[in-house]
Symmetry: C2
Subunit: 105 residues, 2 copies
Protein backbone atom coordinates (compact mmCIF):
# COMPACT_ATOMS: atom_id res chain seq x y z
CA UNK A 1 0.00 0.00 0.00
CA UNK A 2 1.48 3.32 -1.04
CA UNK A 3 0.14 5.41 1.84
CA UNK A 4 -0.58 4.78 5.52
CA UNK A 5 -2.35 6.94 8.08
CA UNK A 6 -0.59 6.03 11.33
CA UNK A 7 -3.54 7.28 13.37
CA UNK A 8 -5.85 4.59 12.01
CA UNK A 9 -3.49 1.83 10.88
CA UNK A 10 -4.45 -1.66 12.02
CA UNK A 11 -1.57 -3.50 13.66
CA UNK A 12 -0.93 -7.20 14.19
CA UNK A 13 0.83 -9.08 16.97
CA UNK A 14 4.52 -9.23 16.05
CA UNK A 15 5.96 -10.64 19.25
CA UNK A 16 4.96 -10.37 22.91
CA UNK A 17 4.68 -6.69 23.79
CA UNK A 18 4.97 -5.46 20.19
CA UNK A 19 2.22 -4.92 17.64
CA UNK A 20 3.28 -3.85 14.18
CA UNK A 21 2.51 -3.44 10.52
CA UNK A 22 5.22 -3.74 7.88
CA UNK A 23 5.66 -2.88 4.23
CA UNK A 24 8.36 -4.85 2.41
CA UNK A 25 10.12 -3.46 -0.60
CA UNK A 26 13.09 -4.78 -2.53
CA UNK A 27 15.62 -3.04 -0.30
CA UNK A 28 13.61 -1.47 2.54
CA UNK A 29 11.29 -2.66 5.29
CA UNK A 30 9.11 0.09 6.76
CA UNK A 31 7.37 -0.90 9.98
CA UNK A 32 5.04 0.92 12.31
CA UNK A 33 5.50 -0.53 15.80
CA UNK A 34 3.65 -0.11 19.04
CA UNK A 35 5.74 -1.30 21.97
CA UNK A 36 3.95 -1.85 25.27
CA UNK A 37 4.98 -0.22 28.54
CA UNK A 38 7.68 -1.98 30.52
CA UNK A 39 9.32 -3.87 27.65
CA UNK A 40 13.05 -4.15 26.98
CA UNK A 41 15.49 -5.38 24.38
CA UNK A 42 18.76 -5.53 26.27
CA UNK A 43 20.82 -5.42 23.10
CA UNK A 44 21.59 -7.03 19.76
CA UNK A 45 23.24 -6.19 16.45
CA UNK A 46 22.74 -6.97 12.77
CA UNK A 47 24.64 -6.34 9.53
CA UNK A 48 22.20 -3.76 8.13
CA UNK A 49 21.32 -0.13 8.86
CA UNK A 50 18.14 0.68 10.78
CA UNK A 51 16.56 4.04 11.59
CA UNK A 52 13.31 5.62 12.60
CA UNK A 53 11.36 8.22 14.49
CA UNK A 54 9.30 8.15 17.67
CA UNK A 55 5.67 9.07 16.93
CA UNK A 56 4.21 8.80 20.45
CA UNK A 57 5.27 7.89 23.97
CA UNK A 58 8.83 7.60 25.22
CA UNK A 59 11.54 5.00 24.68
CA UNK A 60 15.11 4.84 25.90
CA UNK A 61 17.57 3.61 23.29
CA UNK A 62 21.24 2.93 23.21
CA UNK A 63 23.34 2.78 20.06
CA UNK A 64 26.95 1.87 20.69
CA UNK A 65 28.01 4.03 23.64
CA UNK A 66 25.25 6.63 23.22
CA UNK A 67 22.08 6.34 25.29
CA UNK A 68 19.06 8.65 25.08
CA UNK A 69 15.45 8.92 26.21
CA UNK A 70 13.49 9.64 23.03
CA UNK A 71 10.15 11.46 22.74
CA UNK A 72 8.00 12.22 19.67
CA UNK A 73 9.92 13.88 16.81
CA UNK A 74 13.19 12.34 17.94
CA UNK A 75 14.97 10.01 15.54
CA UNK A 76 17.58 7.27 15.74
CA UNK A 77 20.08 5.90 13.23
CA UNK A 78 21.69 2.52 13.90
CA UNK A 79 24.65 1.85 11.60
CA UNK A 80 25.12 -1.71 10.37
CA UNK A 81 26.91 -3.80 12.97
CA UNK A 82 26.38 -1.38 15.88
CA UNK A 83 25.05 -2.88 19.12
CA UNK A 84 21.74 -1.32 20.18
CA UNK A 85 18.77 -1.87 22.42
CA UNK A 86 15.76 -0.13 23.95
CA UNK A 87 13.49 0.06 26.95
CA UNK A 88 9.99 1.44 27.51
CA UNK A 89 8.74 2.76 30.82
CA UNK A 90 5.24 3.53 32.08
CA UNK A 91 3.61 4.13 28.69
CA UNK A 92 3.65 2.49 25.24
CA UNK A 93 5.90 3.94 22.54
CA UNK A 94 5.12 3.99 18.84
CA UNK A 95 7.85 4.14 16.22
CA UNK A 96 8.09 4.33 12.46
CA UNK A 97 11.10 2.09 11.89
CA UNK A 98 12.98 1.46 8.63
CA UNK A 99 15.53 -1.26 8.00
CA UNK A 100 17.59 -2.18 5.02
CA UNK A 101 16.73 -5.74 4.01
CA UNK A 102 19.44 -8.26 4.64
CA UNK A 103 20.80 -9.76 1.45
CA UNK A 104 18.66 -12.78 0.79
CA UNK A 105 16.10 -11.91 3.48
CA UNK B 1 25.00 11.23 14.94
CA UNK B 2 22.89 8.51 16.53
CA UNK B 3 19.97 10.72 17.60
CA UNK B 4 18.24 13.80 16.16
CA UNK B 5 15.60 16.05 17.67
CA UNK B 6 13.62 17.19 14.63
CA UNK B 7 12.30 20.22 16.53
CA UNK B 8 15.76 21.75 16.81
CA UNK B 9 17.72 20.17 13.97
CA UNK B 10 19.74 22.61 11.87
CA UNK B 11 19.11 22.19 8.16
CA UNK B 12 21.16 23.17 5.14
CA UNK B 13 20.16 24.29 1.64
CA UNK B 14 19.78 21.15 -0.45
CA UNK B 15 18.26 22.63 -3.57
CA UNK B 16 16.02 25.62 -4.27
CA UNK B 17 12.95 25.31 -2.04
CA UNK B 18 14.31 22.41 0.02
CA UNK B 19 16.40 22.52 3.17
CA UNK B 20 17.57 19.23 4.58
CA UNK B 21 19.87 17.27 6.83
CA UNK B 22 20.98 13.77 5.95
CA UNK B 23 22.59 10.82 7.69
CA UNK B 24 24.34 8.34 5.42
CA UNK B 25 24.79 4.74 6.40
CA UNK B 26 26.07 1.79 4.41
CA UNK B 27 22.65 0.94 2.99
CA UNK B 28 20.31 3.75 4.15
CA UNK B 29 20.07 7.51 3.78
CA UNK B 30 17.84 9.16 6.37
CA UNK B 31 16.98 12.77 5.55
CA UNK B 32 14.89 15.37 7.29
CA UNK B 33 13.53 17.74 4.64
CA UNK B 34 11.69 21.00 4.81
CA UNK B 35 10.01 21.78 1.50
CA UNK B 36 8.82 25.36 0.96
CA UNK B 37 5.25 26.25 0.01
CA UNK B 38 4.41 26.16 -3.68
CA UNK B 39 7.08 23.70 -4.80
CA UNK B 40 6.60 20.75 -7.11
CA UNK B 41 8.41 17.71 -8.43
CA UNK B 42 6.33 16.68 -11.42
CA UNK B 43 7.68 13.14 -11.36
CA UNK B 44 10.72 10.92 -11.55
CA UNK B 45 11.80 7.37 -10.74
CA UNK B 46 14.87 5.58 -9.45
CA UNK B 47 15.94 1.96 -8.94
CA UNK B 48 15.76 2.00 -5.13
CA UNK B 49 13.00 2.02 -2.52
CA UNK B 50 12.14 5.25 -0.73
CA UNK B 51 9.73 5.87 2.14
CA UNK B 52 8.93 8.35 4.87
CA UNK B 53 6.46 10.19 7.04
CA UNK B 54 5.09 13.72 7.03
CA UNK B 55 6.00 15.49 10.28
CA UNK B 56 4.35 18.90 9.61
CA UNK B 57 2.39 20.71 6.92
CA UNK B 58 0.74 19.09 3.93
CA UNK B 59 2.11 17.61 0.72
CA UNK B 60 0.36 15.92 -2.18
CA UNK B 61 2.17 12.88 -3.51
CA UNK B 62 1.59 10.44 -6.29
CA UNK B 63 3.13 6.97 -6.47
CA UNK B 64 2.27 5.12 -9.65
CA UNK B 65 -1.47 5.65 -10.14
CA UNK B 66 -2.19 6.55 -6.49
CA UNK B 67 -2.39 10.20 -5.48
CA UNK B 68 -2.95 11.51 -1.94
CA UNK B 69 -2.80 14.69 0.10
CA UNK B 70 -0.67 13.80 3.13
CA UNK B 71 -0.76 15.41 6.57
CA UNK B 72 1.31 14.72 9.70
CA UNK B 73 1.43 11.02 10.69
CA UNK B 74 0.80 9.91 7.13
CA UNK B 75 3.46 7.79 5.45
CA UNK B 76 4.48 6.90 1.91
CA UNK B 77 6.31 3.93 0.43
CA UNK B 78 7.77 4.22 -3.08
CA UNK B 79 8.84 0.85 -4.49
CA UNK B 80 12.01 0.78 -6.59
CA UNK B 81 11.26 1.84 -10.16
CA UNK B 82 7.83 3.36 -9.43
CA UNK B 83 7.19 6.85 -10.85
CA UNK B 84 6.41 9.39 -8.14
CA UNK B 85 6.24 13.10 -7.49
CA UNK B 86 4.92 15.67 -5.02
CA UNK B 87 3.53 19.16 -4.66
CA UNK B 88 3.25 21.56 -1.74
CA UNK B 89 0.55 24.21 -1.42
CA UNK B 90 0.26 27.26 0.83
CA UNK B 91 2.50 26.02 3.66
CA UNK B 92 5.86 24.26 3.97
CA UNK B 93 5.91 20.51 4.55
CA UNK B 94 8.49 18.62 6.59
CA UNK B 95 9.27 14.96 5.98
CA UNK B 96 11.49 12.31 7.46
CA UNK B 97 12.53 10.50 4.30
CA UNK B 98 14.51 7.25 4.01
CA UNK B 99 16.07 5.86 0.84
CA UNK B 100 18.03 2.75 0.12
CA UNK B 101 21.44 3.75 -1.19
CA UNK B 102 21.99 2.97 -4.84
CA UNK B 103 24.70 0.40 -5.40
CA UNK B 104 27.90 2.36 -5.69
CA UNK B 105 26.33 5.66 -4.57
Amino acid sequence: MAFWNLNSLELEAFRPGINSRAELGEQLIMAYMEIAAGEEDSGHLHPYDQCGVVMAGRIEMFIGSERKLLSPSQTYFIPAGEPHGWKTFDEPATLLDISSRQPGA
